[in-house]
């Protein structure tokens, strides 16, 4: 992992909705090729922060740059340089595999030639040539997730945001998904991921844990486990997040 190049820089990010402070002075950097875990209980403010980092919402105050672009004035540039995938929003169920690839690659402005190349490569990689004209909804969930991830990085973005990407799949498929994440990170794509699976949190290079709109902890999983004198991330999370829960 190249530690030098910062692809996300956040300094004193504040986001308010009326009187409610959803993000309270968040400060962190994320590096090129890093797998960065963004954890927190439901309602801690993760989604608010992710929406800002994706250029979908304007911060109230603070200095934020994503992929080298300003989060107030260059949101369109941010959107072009990131990929996004969540369990809720991924592929179009009523389009085929090839149609989905074509659609997303087209949206991101790839040329017809590039689309053809990328599409062939992806179908070959996943051994899907006999299924490429099948509707997405006919595929098992695990395949959908792997494809959705590959399509989210089809335009070779600087950063990919994964919002609870692996919910509900079997433990082997979940691990295959993480193989893809490592592969992307090795290729220099920064992976920004949220998850409720604490064993997955331990696969990240660094983790931040949000509690009530603030970042309460930020370090490698190993250091956090040591610092809180526990055995695993699940226990770290329970120790930190317990106090907020309604």
């Amino acid at each position: 992992m190249v530690k030098k190049e910062k692809v996300i820089q956040v300094k004193n990010l504040v986001k308010k909705f009326g009187d409610f402070v959803a993000n309270d002075h968040l400060t962190f950097d994320v590096y090129k090729g890093e797998i960065f875990g963004f954890l927190g209980a439901n309602g801690a403010g993760k989604t608010t922060a992710i929406r800002i980092l994706c250029g979908l919402s304007i911060p109230t105050s603070g200095d934020i740059s994503v992929a080298g672009f300003d989060a107030y004035t260059q949101t369109e540039n941010i959107k072009k340089n990131i990929g996004y995938m969540s369990q809720k929003f991924s592929l179009y169920e009523d389009l085929t595999i090839t149609e989905n690839i074509k659609f997303y690659a087209g949206i991101y402005g790839l040329s017809d030639k590039e689309i053809k190349q990328k599409s062939d490569k992806l179908i070959q990689k996943f051994n899907l040539s006999d299924k490429k004209n099948k509707l997405i909804k006919s595929l098992p969930l695990g395949w959908k997730q792997k494809l959705a991830f590959s399509i989210a990085i089809i335009h070779n973005p600087k950063i990919v945001f994964l919002d609870e990407p692996t919910g509900g799949v079997d433990p082997i498929t979940r691990r295959q998904f993480w193989d893809l994440i490592y592969e992307a990170a090795d290729a220099g794509i920064t992976v920004f991921v949220t998850t409720h699976y604490m064993d997955e949190a331990e696969y990240c290079n660094r983790l931040s844990i949000m509690v009530d709109g603030k970042i309460e902890a930020l370090d490698t999983p190993e250091n956090l486990i040591k610092q809180y004198k526990v055995d695993n991330m699940d226990q770290v999370f329970l120790k930190l997040a317990r106090k907020t829960n309604a």
Partner: protein, 299 residues
């Protein structure tokens, strides 16, 4: 008490579940553990009389789910996978609605839901759609309990809920169990299996194993070790290429490893890893957990 015998169900050409057999004792906490698409929801919908099985039968506290469906609906409390309360009604209105539908009142059964409901009572005027995930879950459980059911059926109540709320939810289930309620719960989170009295591990519409979590873990037939080095990604790759390897799966900060041999030769493994430039090699013998067992059954 629940008895499920040879249940089979297809949707068109797709076989959803087959050969489903299990029984649940009164006041037992029984878990169906498996990923999406395994068939958990199909089984629950049959047991709650919402769909008909193609074959087989199911009896809940003496009532047949097909013939006695009206009675079944009175004795069960059901929490479907999707949040299915009225988003535009307040917390209190939802609870009142469900109480009224079942011909009872909140006051009459308040004792049963008190522990859970009092946590969301400060927000009782808030619309259900505006609640956080953890609070929605507590409201849904309160609504499923308000008619004092004998059997509680909970379809993935903790999916998408954070680790803290999940833990609290399981604590609530333990307390309900102590009140004599039979609980059938499904979850894709393998670590939650240990919180059940007994579990059925389910995959592709088939039950692979039914037992207490302890017995399932004890039945793991391989010697299991946790391996760790400085480069975990390379370690996984190298272990998978090692000729003695039966399985190698990432588990948090370790890789769980089993060998094709009945006994693992630690020295030989260490030597192989050193040869592949691994540093700070740690090898520890460990107990299998439910996820190890599940993956072993899958492969």
């Amino acid at each position: 008490m629940i008895s499920v015998q040879n249940i089979k169900k297809s949707y068109g050409d797709t076989l959803a579940v087959s050969n489903i057999n299990f029984s649940v004792e009164q006041a037992e906490l029984f878990g169906l553990i498996g990923p999406d698409g395994a068939g958990k929801t199909t089984i629950f919908r049959i047991l709650t009389s919402l769909i008909l099985p193609d074959e087989g039968k199911a009896i809940l506290n003496g009532y047949d789910v097909v013939k006695d469906y009206k009675k079944i609906r009175q004795i069960i409390g059901y929490m479907p996978g999707r949040f299915s309360l009225y988003q535009d009604l307040s917390v209190e209105e939802n609870l009142n609605f469900f109480a009224t539908v079942f011909g009872t009142t909140i006051e009459e059964n308040y004792d049963l839901i008190k522990d859970i409901y009092k946590q969301i009572e400060p927000f009782k005027k808030r619309r259900a759609g505006k609640l956080s995930g953890g609070m929605k879950q507590k409201l849904a459980l309160s609504c499923a309990l308000i008619h004092k059911p004998e059997i509680l059926v909970l379809d993935e109540p903790t999916t998408g809920v954070d680790a803290v709320s999940r833990k609290e939810f399981w604590d609530m289930l333990q307390r309900l169990k102590e009140k004599g309620i039979t609980i059938l719960v499904s979850t894709p989170y393998m670590d939650e299996a240990s919180l059940c009295d007994r579990v059925a591990l389910i995959q592709n519409g088939q039950i692979m194993q039914i037992d207490t979590p302890d017995n399932i873990v004890k039945s793991f037939k391989h010697e299991l070790i946790a391996v760790k080095t400085e480069n975990m990604h390379k370690l996984l790759h190298d272990l998978r290429n090692f000729s003695d390897t039966h399985s190698a799966f990432l588990f948090g900060q370790n890789i769980h490893y089993t060998s094709i041999n009945s006994k693992i030769n630690n020295e030989e493994l260490k030597h192989y890893l050193q040869k592949n430039n691994h540093k700070n090699i740690e090898i520890n013998k460990i107990q299998a957990n439910i996820e190890d067992c599940f993956m072993e059954l899958m492969t």
